[in-house]
Symmetry: C2
Protein backbone atom coordinates (compact mmCIF):
# COMPACT_ATOMS: atom_id res chain seq x y z
CA UNK A 1 0.00 0.00 0.00
CA UNK A 2 1.53 3.28 -1.15
CA UNK A 3 1.50 6.19 1.29
CA UNK A 4 1.38 8.89 -1.41
CA UNK A 5 -1.33 11.41 -0.65
CA UNK A 6 -3.75 12.61 -3.30
CA UNK A 7 -3.75 16.38 -3.65
CA UNK A 8 -6.50 18.20 -5.51
CA UNK A 9 -5.23 21.09 -7.65
CA UNK A 10 -8.36 22.34 -9.43
CA UNK A 11 -12.13 21.87 -9.40
CA UNK A 12 -14.89 22.67 -11.90
CA UNK A 13 -18.49 21.53 -12.15
CA UNK A 14 -20.54 21.29 -15.35
CA UNK A 15 -23.94 19.66 -15.95
CA UNK A 16 -23.98 17.77 -12.68
CA UNK A 17 -20.42 16.42 -13.11
CA UNK A 18 -17.61 17.56 -10.79
CA UNK A 19 -14.13 17.46 -12.39
CA UNK A 20 -11.13 17.64 -10.09
CA UNK A 21 -7.47 17.63 -11.14
CA UNK A 22 -5.13 15.89 -8.75
CA UNK A 23 -1.58 14.68 -8.27
CA UNK A 24 -0.35 11.55 -6.50
CA UNK A 25 3.42 11.31 -5.97
CA UNK A 26 4.12 13.54 -8.97
CA UNK A 27 1.64 11.78 -11.30
CA UNK A 28 -1.05 14.07 -12.72
CA UNK A 29 -4.63 12.84 -12.78
CA UNK A 30 -8.30 13.79 -13.03
CA UNK A 31 -11.33 12.61 -11.09
CA UNK A 32 -14.92 13.01 -12.31
CA UNK A 33 -17.79 12.45 -9.87
CA UNK A 34 -21.54 13.01 -9.75
CA UNK A 35 -22.51 16.27 -8.01
CA UNK A 36 -24.93 14.32 -5.87
CA UNK A 37 -25.06 10.67 -4.86
CA UNK A 38 -21.30 10.26 -5.15
CA UNK A 39 -20.73 8.77 -1.70
CA UNK A 40 -19.72 5.16 -2.02
CA UNK A 41 -20.31 5.08 -5.80
CA UNK A 42 -18.20 2.51 -7.70
CA UNK A 43 -14.93 3.74 -9.23
CA UNK A 44 -13.87 3.28 -12.86
CA UNK A 45 -10.17 3.77 -13.67
CA UNK A 46 -9.67 4.92 -17.23
CA UNK A 47 -6.41 4.60 -19.18
CA UNK A 48 -5.82 6.91 -22.16
CA UNK A 49 -4.38 5.97 -25.54
CA UNK A 50 -0.84 6.59 -26.79
CA UNK A 51 0.00 10.21 -27.58
CA UNK A 52 -2.96 11.62 -25.65
CA UNK A 53 -3.47 12.46 -21.97
CA UNK A 54 -5.69 12.27 -18.88
CA UNK A 55 -8.13 14.91 -20.11
CA UNK A 56 -8.16 14.19 -23.85
CA UNK A 57 -11.61 14.56 -25.49
CA UNK A 58 -12.21 10.78 -25.51
CA UNK A 59 -11.46 10.65 -21.76
CA UNK A 60 -13.75 13.57 -20.96
CA UNK A 61 -16.51 12.17 -23.18
CA UNK A 62 -16.39 8.70 -21.63
CA UNK A 63 -16.14 10.14 -18.11
CA UNK A 64 -19.23 12.27 -18.75
CA UNK A 65 -21.20 9.17 -19.84
CA UNK A 66 -19.95 7.04 -16.94
CA UNK A 67 -20.87 9.70 -14.38
CA UNK A 68 -24.18 10.77 -15.92
CA UNK A 69 -25.50 7.33 -16.92
CA UNK A 70 -23.79 5.10 -14.34
CA UNK A 71 -23.30 7.41 -11.37
CA UNK A 72 -19.65 6.32 -11.10
CA UNK A 73 -16.49 8.05 -9.97
CA UNK A 74 -14.05 8.05 -12.91
CA UNK A 75 -10.29 8.55 -12.54
CA UNK A 76 -7.56 8.97 -15.15
CA UNK A 77 -3.82 9.54 -14.80
CA UNK A 78 -1.26 10.62 -17.36
CA UNK A 79 0.86 7.71 -18.53
CA UNK A 80 4.65 8.11 -18.28
CA UNK A 81 5.87 10.49 -20.98
CA UNK A 82 2.33 11.77 -21.59
CA UNK A 83 0.25 14.81 -20.62
CA UNK A 84 2.06 16.99 -18.12
CA UNK A 85 4.81 14.44 -17.48
CA UNK A 86 8.50 14.49 -18.53
CA UNK A 87 9.41 12.94 -21.88
CA UNK A 88 12.67 10.96 -21.73
CA UNK A 89 15.17 10.35 -24.51
CA UNK A 90 13.89 6.77 -24.66
CA UNK A 91 10.33 8.05 -25.15
CA UNK A 92 11.53 10.36 -27.93
CA UNK A 93 13.36 7.55 -29.74
CA UNK A 94 10.31 5.26 -29.63
CA UNK A 95 7.94 8.02 -30.75
CA UNK A 96 10.28 8.79 -33.65
CA UNK A 97 10.40 5.09 -34.56
CA UNK A 98 6.57 4.88 -34.56
CA UNK A 99 6.22 7.98 -36.70
CA UNK A 100 8.83 6.74 -39.17
CA UNK A 101 7.09 3.35 -39.43
CA UNK A 102 3.74 5.05 -40.12
CA UNK A 103 5.30 7.37 -42.70
CA UNK A 104 7.08 4.57 -44.56
CA UNK A 105 4.27 2.01 -44.36
CA UNK A 106 6.22 -0.39 -42.13
CA UNK A 107 3.99 -2.22 -39.57
CA UNK A 108 3.92 -0.07 -36.45
CA UNK A 109 2.67 -2.90 -34.22
CA UNK A 110 6.02 -4.28 -33.02
CA UNK A 111 7.19 -0.81 -31.92
CA UNK A 112 3.89 0.03 -30.17
CA UNK A 113 3.89 -3.34 -28.43
CA UNK A 114 7.43 -3.04 -27.04
CA UNK A 115 7.14 0.66 -26.13
CA UNK A 116 3.80 0.22 -24.36
CA UNK A 117 5.15 -2.78 -22.43
CA UNK A 118 8.00 -0.56 -21.29
CA UNK A 119 5.57 2.17 -20.19
CA UNK A 120 3.32 -0.39 -18.44
CA UNK A 121 6.15 -1.46 -16.14
CA UNK A 122 6.20 2.06 -14.71
CA UNK A 123 2.48 2.78 -15.06
CA UNK A 124 1.15 -0.26 -13.16
CA UNK A 125 2.70 0.74 -9.79
CA UNK A 126 1.66 4.35 -10.46
CA UNK A 127 -1.95 3.21 -10.98
CA UNK A 128 -1.82 1.10 -7.82
CA UNK A 129 -0.51 4.03 -5.76
CA UNK A 130 -3.22 6.22 -7.27
CA UNK A 131 -5.90 3.65 -6.42
CA UNK A 132 -4.56 3.45 -2.85
CA UNK A 133 -4.86 7.23 -2.56
CA UNK A 134 -8.30 7.37 -4.23
CA UNK A 135 -9.62 4.73 -1.84
CA UNK A 136 -8.56 6.91 1.10
CA UNK A 137 -10.99 9.61 -0.09
CA UNK A 138 -14.14 9.39 2.04
CA UNK A 139 -16.47 9.58 -0.99
CA UNK A 140 -14.79 6.50 -2.56
CA UNK A 141 -13.60 4.32 0.33
CA UNK A 142 -11.67 1.07 0.38
CA UNK A 143 -14.58 -1.33 -0.03
CA UNK A 144 -16.31 -0.20 -3.21
CA UNK A 145 -16.13 -2.05 -6.53
CA UNK A 146 -13.49 -0.91 -9.05
CA UNK A 147 -13.50 -1.23 -12.84
CA UNK A 148 -10.89 -0.47 -15.50
CA UNK A 149 -11.55 0.94 -19.00
CA UNK A 150 -8.79 1.47 -21.56
CA UNK A 151 -8.26 0.98 -25.31
CA UNK A 152 -4.99 0.94 -27.28
CA UNK A 153 -2.17 1.85 -24.83
CA UNK A 154 -4.90 1.86 -22.16
CA UNK A 155 -5.21 -1.88 -22.80
CA UNK A 156 -1.44 -2.46 -22.84
CA UNK A 157 -1.26 -0.91 -19.37
CA UNK A 158 -4.65 -2.16 -18.16
CA UNK A 159 -4.01 -5.87 -18.76
CA UNK A 160 -0.99 -6.13 -16.42
CA UNK A 161 -2.73 -3.78 -13.96
CA UNK A 162 -5.93 -5.85 -13.88
CA UNK A 163 -3.96 -9.09 -13.61
CA UNK A 164 -1.94 -7.65 -10.70
CA UNK A 165 -4.65 -5.90 -8.68
CA UNK A 166 -7.54 -7.92 -7.25
CA UNK A 167 -9.47 -4.74 -6.45
CA UNK A 168 -10.37 -4.47 -10.17
CA UNK A 169 -13.41 -6.70 -10.72
CA UNK A 170 -14.47 -5.83 -14.30
CA UNK A 171 -12.58 -4.42 -17.29
CA UNK A 172 -13.17 -3.03 -20.79
CA UNK A 173 -10.26 -3.40 -23.21
CA UNK A 174 -9.70 -3.28 -26.95
CA UNK A 175 -7.64 -2.38 -30.01
CA UNK A 176 -4.38 -4.11 -29.18
CA UNK A 177 -2.08 -6.91 -30.31
CA UNK A 178 -1.72 -10.16 -28.32
CA UNK A 179 2.08 -10.05 -28.38
CA UNK A 180 3.56 -9.56 -24.89
CA UNK A 181 0.13 -9.22 -23.17
CA UNK A 182 -1.72 -12.47 -24.05
CA UNK A 183 0.08 -14.49 -21.40
CA UNK A 184 -0.85 -11.90 -18.79
CA UNK A 185 -4.43 -11.80 -20.10
CA UNK A 186 -4.74 -15.53 -19.37
CA UNK A 187 -4.41 -14.71 -15.67
CA UNK A 188 -7.37 -12.30 -15.78
CA UNK A 189 -10.59 -13.97 -14.65
CA UNK A 190 -12.91 -11.01 -14.03
CA UNK A 191 -15.63 -10.16 -16.60
CA UNK A 192 -14.19 -8.48 -19.71
CA UNK A 193 -15.65 -6.59 -22.66
CA UNK A 194 -13.17 -6.40 -25.55
CA UNK A 195 -13.57 -4.41 -28.78
CA UNK A 196 -11.78 -4.59 -32.11
CA UNK A 197 -12.18 -3.04 -35.53
CA UNK A 198 -12.80 -5.46 -38.42
CA UNK A 199 -10.88 -3.30 -40.91
CA UNK A 200 -8.07 -2.18 -38.59
CA UNK A 201 -5.12 -1.13 -40.75
CA UNK A 202 -2.65 -1.79 -37.90
CA UNK A 203 -3.98 -4.81 -35.99
CA UNK A 204 -4.81 -7.94 -38.05
CA UNK A 205 -8.20 -9.56 -37.28
CA UNK A 206 -6.54 -12.75 -36.15
CA UNK A 207 -4.39 -10.79 -33.68
CA UNK A 208 -7.39 -9.07 -32.11
CA UNK A 209 -9.37 -12.32 -31.93
CA UNK A 210 -6.38 -14.06 -30.33
CA UNK A 211 -6.21 -11.45 -27.59
CA UNK A 212 -9.95 -11.79 -26.87
CA UNK A 213 -9.50 -15.55 -26.77
CA UNK A 214 -6.59 -15.25 -24.34
CA UNK A 215 -8.53 -13.76 -21.41
CA UNK A 216 -9.08 -16.35 -18.70
CA UNK A 217 -12.49 -14.87 -17.84
CA UNK A 218 -15.47 -17.17 -17.75
CA UNK A 219 -17.59 -14.21 -18.80
CA UNK A 220 -16.18 -12.16 -21.66
CA UNK A 221 -17.79 -10.37 -24.59
CA UNK A 222 -16.23 -9.34 -27.89
CA UNK A 223 -17.57 -6.40 -29.88
CA UNK A 224 -16.45 -6.11 -33.48
CA UNK A 225 -17.35 -3.20 -35.72
CA UNK A 226 -16.57 -2.40 -39.33
CA UNK A 227 -14.17 0.43 -40.00
CA UNK A 228 -10.53 1.31 -39.49
CA UNK A 229 -8.49 1.60 -36.30
CA UNK A 230 -9.79 5.01 -35.25
CA UNK A 231 -13.38 4.46 -36.38
CA UNK A 232 -14.78 2.60 -33.37
CA UNK A 233 -18.42 3.75 -33.09
CA UNK A 234 -19.35 6.00 -30.22
CA UNK A 235 -22.07 3.58 -29.07
CA UNK A 236 -19.31 1.30 -27.75
CA UNK A 237 -18.70 3.88 -24.99
CA UNK A 238 -22.37 3.51 -24.00
CA UNK A 239 -21.95 -0.25 -24.07
CA UNK A 240 -19.03 0.09 -21.65
CA UNK A 241 -21.22 2.11 -19.27
CA UNK A 242 -23.84 -0.66 -19.29
CA UNK A 243 -21.12 -3.30 -18.79
CA UNK A 244 -19.91 -1.50 -15.67
CA UNK A 245 -23.47 -1.01 -14.43
CA UNK A 246 -24.03 -4.77 -14.77
CA UNK A 247 -20.81 -5.74 -13.02
CA UNK A 248 -20.13 -2.98 -10.50
CA UNK A 249 -23.72 -2.34 -9.47
CA UNK A 250 -25.79 -5.49 -9.97
CA UNK A 251 -25.58 -9.29 -9.93
CA UNK A 252 -24.53 -11.09 -13.10
CA UNK A 253 -27.33 -11.52 -15.68
CA UNK A 254 -28.79 -14.95 -16.34
CA UNK A 255 -28.61 -16.65 -19.72
CA UNK A 256 -31.59 -16.31 -22.09
CA UNK B 1 -48.11 -7.06 -53.18
CA UNK B 2 -50.19 -9.81 -51.63
CA UNK B 3 -53.89 -9.15 -51.13
CA UNK B 4 -54.25 -11.43 -48.09
CA UNK B 5 -56.07 -9.66 -45.30
CA UNK B 6 -54.85 -9.73 -41.72
CA UNK B 7 -57.49 -10.98 -39.33
CA UNK B 8 -57.18 -10.51 -35.58
CA UNK B 9 -58.29 -13.54 -33.57
CA UNK B 10 -57.49 -12.58 -29.96
CA UNK B 11 -56.38 -9.59 -27.91
CA UNK B 12 -54.88 -9.20 -24.44
CA UNK B 13 -53.16 -6.27 -22.75
CA UNK B 14 -50.58 -6.55 -19.94
CA UNK B 15 -48.28 -3.88 -18.48
CA UNK B 16 -48.86 -1.40 -21.28
CA UNK B 17 -48.29 -3.95 -24.06
CA UNK B 18 -51.15 -5.03 -26.34
CA UNK B 19 -50.80 -8.57 -27.73
CA UNK B 20 -52.96 -9.56 -30.69
CA UNK B 21 -53.05 -12.94 -32.41
CA UNK B 22 -53.68 -12.81 -36.12
CA UNK B 23 -53.77 -14.88 -39.29
CA UNK B 24 -52.74 -13.89 -42.82
CA UNK B 25 -53.64 -16.35 -45.57
CA UNK B 26 -53.61 -19.27 -43.13
CA UNK B 27 -50.35 -18.28 -41.45
CA UNK B 28 -50.66 -17.72 -37.70
CA UNK B 29 -48.96 -14.70 -36.14
CA UNK B 30 -48.80 -12.35 -33.19
CA UNK B 31 -48.49 -8.58 -32.99
CA UNK B 32 -47.32 -6.69 -29.90
CA UNK B 33 -47.82 -2.92 -29.70
CA UNK B 34 -47.57 -0.16 -27.11
CA UNK B 35 -50.92 0.68 -25.49
CA UNK B 36 -50.27 4.33 -26.23
CA UNK B 37 -48.10 6.05 -28.81
CA UNK B 38 -48.37 3.14 -31.25
CA UNK B 39 -49.49 5.17 -34.26
CA UNK B 40 -46.75 5.22 -36.86
CA UNK B 41 -44.24 3.46 -34.58
CA UNK B 42 -41.56 1.45 -36.43
CA UNK B 43 -42.19 -2.27 -36.95
CA UNK B 44 -39.81 -5.08 -35.99
CA UNK B 45 -40.42 -8.49 -37.59
CA UNK B 46 -39.19 -11.31 -35.37
CA UNK B 47 -38.39 -14.83 -36.59
CA UNK B 48 -38.42 -17.69 -34.05
CA UNK B 49 -35.90 -20.50 -33.76
CA UNK B 50 -36.31 -24.08 -34.94
CA UNK B 51 -38.75 -26.21 -32.93
CA UNK B 52 -40.41 -23.23 -31.26
CA UNK B 53 -43.23 -20.90 -32.34
CA UNK B 54 -44.53 -17.34 -32.68
CA UNK B 55 -45.29 -16.95 -28.98
CA UNK B 56 -42.43 -18.95 -27.43
CA UNK B 57 -40.99 -17.42 -24.23
CA UNK B 58 -37.99 -15.91 -26.07
CA UNK B 59 -40.37 -14.23 -28.56
CA UNK B 60 -42.61 -12.82 -25.83
CA UNK B 61 -39.62 -11.67 -23.78
CA UNK B 62 -37.97 -9.86 -26.70
CA UNK B 63 -41.30 -8.39 -27.83
CA UNK B 64 -41.90 -7.02 -24.32
CA UNK B 65 -38.47 -5.30 -24.36
CA UNK B 66 -38.90 -3.94 -27.90
CA UNK B 67 -42.30 -2.48 -27.09
CA UNK B 68 -41.50 -1.17 -23.60
CA UNK B 69 -38.00 0.20 -24.29
CA UNK B 70 -38.26 1.05 -28.00
CA UNK B 71 -41.95 1.79 -28.48
CA UNK B 72 -42.02 -0.52 -31.52
CA UNK B 73 -44.69 -2.73 -33.06
CA UNK B 74 -43.36 -6.31 -33.06
CA UNK B 75 -44.72 -9.09 -35.29
CA UNK B 76 -43.98 -12.82 -35.38
CA UNK B 77 -45.38 -15.60 -37.56
CA UNK B 78 -45.14 -19.35 -37.18
CA UNK B 79 -42.63 -20.82 -39.62
CA UNK B 80 -43.86 -23.65 -41.87
CA UNK B 81 -44.24 -26.84 -39.82
CA UNK B 82 -44.12 -24.88 -36.56
CA UNK B 83 -46.59 -23.60 -33.96
CA UNK B 84 -50.15 -24.07 -35.11
CA UNK B 85 -49.19 -25.07 -38.65
CA UNK B 86 -49.33 -28.49 -40.36
CA UNK B 87 -46.26 -30.73 -40.11
CA UNK B 88 -45.51 -32.55 -43.39
CA UNK B 89 -43.82 -35.91 -43.87
CA UNK B 90 -40.77 -34.04 -45.11
CA UNK B 91 -40.71 -32.00 -41.88
CA UNK B 92 -40.98 -35.18 -39.82
CA UNK B 93 -38.10 -36.85 -41.67
CA UNK B 94 -35.83 -33.84 -41.18
CA UNK B 95 -36.74 -33.48 -37.51
CA UNK B 96 -36.00 -37.19 -37.01
CA UNK B 97 -32.66 -36.77 -38.78
CA UNK B 98 -31.72 -33.82 -36.53
CA UNK B 99 -32.68 -35.67 -33.38
CA UNK B 100 -30.74 -38.75 -34.45
CA UNK B 101 -27.65 -36.65 -35.23
CA UNK B 102 -27.84 -35.00 -31.79
CA UNK B 103 -28.31 -38.34 -30.05
CA UNK B 104 -25.41 -39.99 -31.85
CA UNK B 105 -23.01 -37.05 -31.71
CA UNK B 106 -22.96 -36.53 -35.48
CA UNK B 107 -22.70 -32.84 -36.51
CA UNK B 108 -26.25 -31.52 -36.82
CA UNK B 109 -25.22 -28.47 -38.86
CA UNK B 110 -25.60 -29.91 -42.37
CA UNK B 111 -29.14 -31.12 -41.62
CA UNK B 112 -30.22 -27.83 -39.99
CA UNK B 113 -28.73 -25.86 -42.87
CA UNK B 114 -30.53 -27.81 -45.63
CA UNK B 115 -33.85 -28.08 -43.74
CA UNK B 116 -33.91 -24.38 -42.82
CA UNK B 117 -33.12 -23.43 -46.43
CA UNK B 118 -36.09 -25.54 -47.49
CA UNK B 119 -38.35 -23.80 -44.94
CA UNK B 120 -37.05 -20.36 -45.95
CA UNK B 121 -38.24 -20.84 -49.53
CA UNK B 122 -41.79 -21.01 -48.24
CA UNK B 123 -41.36 -18.61 -45.31
CA UNK B 124 -39.98 -15.64 -47.27
CA UNK B 125 -43.13 -15.09 -49.39
CA UNK B 126 -45.24 -15.71 -46.27
CA UNK B 127 -43.34 -12.97 -44.42
CA UNK B 128 -43.72 -10.62 -47.37
CA UNK B 129 -47.47 -11.21 -47.53
CA UNK B 130 -47.65 -10.66 -43.77
CA UNK B 131 -45.70 -7.42 -44.06
CA UNK B 132 -48.02 -6.27 -46.86
CA UNK B 133 -51.00 -6.91 -44.59
CA UNK B 134 -49.37 -5.35 -41.50
CA UNK B 135 -48.60 -2.20 -43.47
CA UNK B 136 -52.29 -1.88 -44.36
CA UNK B 137 -53.10 -1.49 -40.65
CA UNK B 138 -53.62 2.21 -39.92
CA UNK B 139 -51.40 2.13 -36.80
CA UNK B 140 -48.44 0.80 -38.85
CA UNK B 141 -48.81 2.21 -42.35
CA UNK B 142 -46.77 1.68 -45.50
CA UNK B 143 -44.13 4.33 -44.89
CA UNK B 144 -42.66 3.45 -41.51
CA UNK B 145 -39.24 1.86 -41.00
CA UNK B 146 -39.08 -1.94 -40.67
CA UNK B 147 -36.48 -4.08 -38.89
CA UNK B 148 -35.93 -7.84 -38.69
CA UNK B 149 -34.69 -9.81 -35.64
CA UNK B 150 -34.07 -13.56 -35.72
CA UNK B 151 -31.49 -16.04 -34.41
CA UNK B 152 -30.90 -19.67 -35.44
CA UNK B 153 -33.67 -20.60 -37.93
CA UNK B 154 -34.78 -16.96 -37.59
CA UNK B 155 -31.48 -16.06 -39.27
CA UNK B 156 -31.79 -18.77 -41.94
CA UNK B 157 -35.15 -17.29 -42.93
CA UNK B 158 -34.26 -13.66 -42.19
CA UNK B 159 -31.22 -13.47 -44.45
CA UNK B 160 -33.07 -14.29 -47.70
CA UNK B 161 -36.03 -12.18 -46.51
CA UNK B 162 -33.85 -9.12 -45.78
CA UNK B 163 -31.98 -9.56 -49.06
CA UNK B 164 -35.27 -9.76 -50.96
CA UNK B 165 -37.30 -7.01 -49.30
CA UNK B 166 -36.08 -3.41 -49.42
CA UNK B 167 -38.60 -2.39 -46.77
CA UNK B 168 -36.31 -3.96 -44.12
CA UNK B 169 -33.67 -1.37 -43.27
CA UNK B 170 -31.89 -2.91 -40.24
CA UNK B 171 -31.49 -6.51 -39.04
CA UNK B 172 -30.26 -8.52 -36.05
CA UNK B 173 -29.05 -12.05 -36.83
CA UNK B 174 -26.93 -14.72 -35.16
CA UNK B 175 -26.14 -18.34 -34.33
CA UNK B 176 -26.00 -19.84 -37.80
CA UNK B 177 -23.65 -21.45 -40.28
CA UNK B 178 -22.50 -19.65 -43.45
CA UNK B 179 -23.30 -22.60 -45.71
CA UNK B 180 -26.13 -21.78 -48.15
CA UNK B 181 -26.78 -18.26 -46.71
CA UNK B 182 -23.39 -16.48 -47.02
CA UNK B 183 -23.86 -15.72 -50.72
CA UNK B 184 -27.26 -14.17 -49.96
CA UNK B 185 -25.80 -12.28 -46.99
CA UNK B 186 -23.36 -10.57 -49.37
CA UNK B 187 -26.34 -8.85 -51.00
CA UNK B 188 -27.50 -7.35 -47.69
CA UNK B 189 -26.28 -3.79 -47.26
CA UNK B 190 -28.45 -2.48 -44.40
CA UNK B 191 -26.95 -2.20 -40.88
CA UNK B 192 -26.59 -5.59 -39.19
CA UNK B 193 -25.89 -6.74 -35.63
CA UNK B 194 -24.75 -10.38 -35.56
CA UNK B 195 -24.16 -12.56 -32.48
CA UNK B 196 -22.33 -15.82 -31.97
CA UNK B 197 -21.31 -17.96 -29.02
CA UNK B 198 -17.56 -18.52 -28.58
CA UNK B 199 -18.05 -22.05 -27.20
CA UNK B 200 -20.90 -23.13 -29.49
CA UNK B 201 -20.96 -26.93 -29.59
CA UNK B 202 -22.72 -26.93 -32.99
CA UNK B 203 -21.34 -23.95 -34.92
CA UNK B 204 -17.53 -23.65 -35.18
CA UNK B 205 -16.10 -20.18 -34.42
CA UNK B 206 -14.70 -19.89 -37.93
CA UNK B 207 -18.15 -20.60 -39.39
CA UNK B 208 -19.82 -17.88 -37.33
CA UNK B 209 -17.07 -15.36 -38.11
CA UNK B 210 -17.35 -16.23 -41.81
CA UNK B 211 -21.07 -15.45 -41.82
CA UNK B 212 -20.50 -12.10 -40.05
CA UNK B 213 -17.80 -11.34 -42.59
CA UNK B 214 -20.11 -12.18 -45.49
CA UNK B 215 -22.67 -9.41 -44.93
CA UNK B 216 -22.27 -6.65 -47.52
CA UNK B 217 -23.25 -3.99 -44.97
CA UNK B 218 -20.95 -1.03 -44.52
CA UNK B 219 -22.11 -0.86 -40.91
CA UNK B 220 -22.17 -4.21 -39.11
CA UNK B 221 -21.40 -5.21 -35.53
CA UNK B 222 -20.44 -8.63 -34.19
CA UNK B 223 -21.18 -9.60 -30.59
CA UNK B 224 -19.40 -12.66 -29.25
CA UNK B 225 -20.03 -14.11 -25.81
CA UNK B 226 -18.56 -17.04 -23.96
CA UNK B 227 -20.78 -20.05 -23.45
CA UNK B 228 -22.50 -22.76 -25.44
CA UNK B 229 -25.10 -22.52 -28.19
CA UNK B 230 -28.07 -21.87 -25.93
CA UNK B 231 -26.23 -19.65 -23.43
CA UNK B 232 -26.39 -16.29 -25.21
CA UNK B 233 -26.71 -13.71 -22.43
CA UNK B 234 -30.00 -11.93 -22.01
CA UNK B 235 -28.33 -8.52 -22.35
CA UNK B 236 -27.98 -9.20 -26.09
CA UNK B 237 -31.76 -8.75 -26.37
CA UNK B 238 -31.36 -5.29 -24.82
CA UNK B 239 -28.55 -4.59 -27.26
CA UNK B 240 -30.90 -5.47 -30.13
CA UNK B 241 -33.46 -2.97 -28.81
CA UNK B 242 -30.82 -0.23 -28.80
CA UNK B 243 -29.68 -1.25 -32.29
CA UNK B 244 -33.23 -0.82 -33.61
CA UNK B 245 -33.64 2.47 -31.74
CA UNK B 246 -30.46 3.74 -33.44
CA UNK B 247 -31.47 2.60 -36.90
CA UNK B 248 -35.25 2.81 -37.01
CA UNK B 249 -35.66 5.96 -34.93
CA UNK B 250 -32.51 8.10 -35.20
CA UNK B 251 -29.72 9.07 -37.62
CA UNK B 252 -26.60 6.89 -37.72
CA UNK B 253 -24.11 7.59 -34.92
CA UNK B 254 -20.81 9.30 -35.66
CA UNK B 255 -17.45 7.65 -34.97
CA UNK B 256 -15.69 8.41 -31.66
Amino acid sequence: MSSHTLQFTARTSVNGVVERDFTVGGVTGALWSPESGADGAPLVLMGHGGGTHRKAPAMKGRAQRLVADGGFHVATIDAPGHGGRPVTEHDEREIDAMQEAMATGVPVGPIVVRYNAYLAEQAVPEWQATLDALQRLPEIGADGPVGYFGLNMGTAIGIPLTAADPRITAAVFGLFWPDLVAETARRITVPVEFSLQWDDEHIPREAGLALYDAFGSREKSLHVNTGRHKEMPRFEADSAVRFFVRHLRAPAPAAV
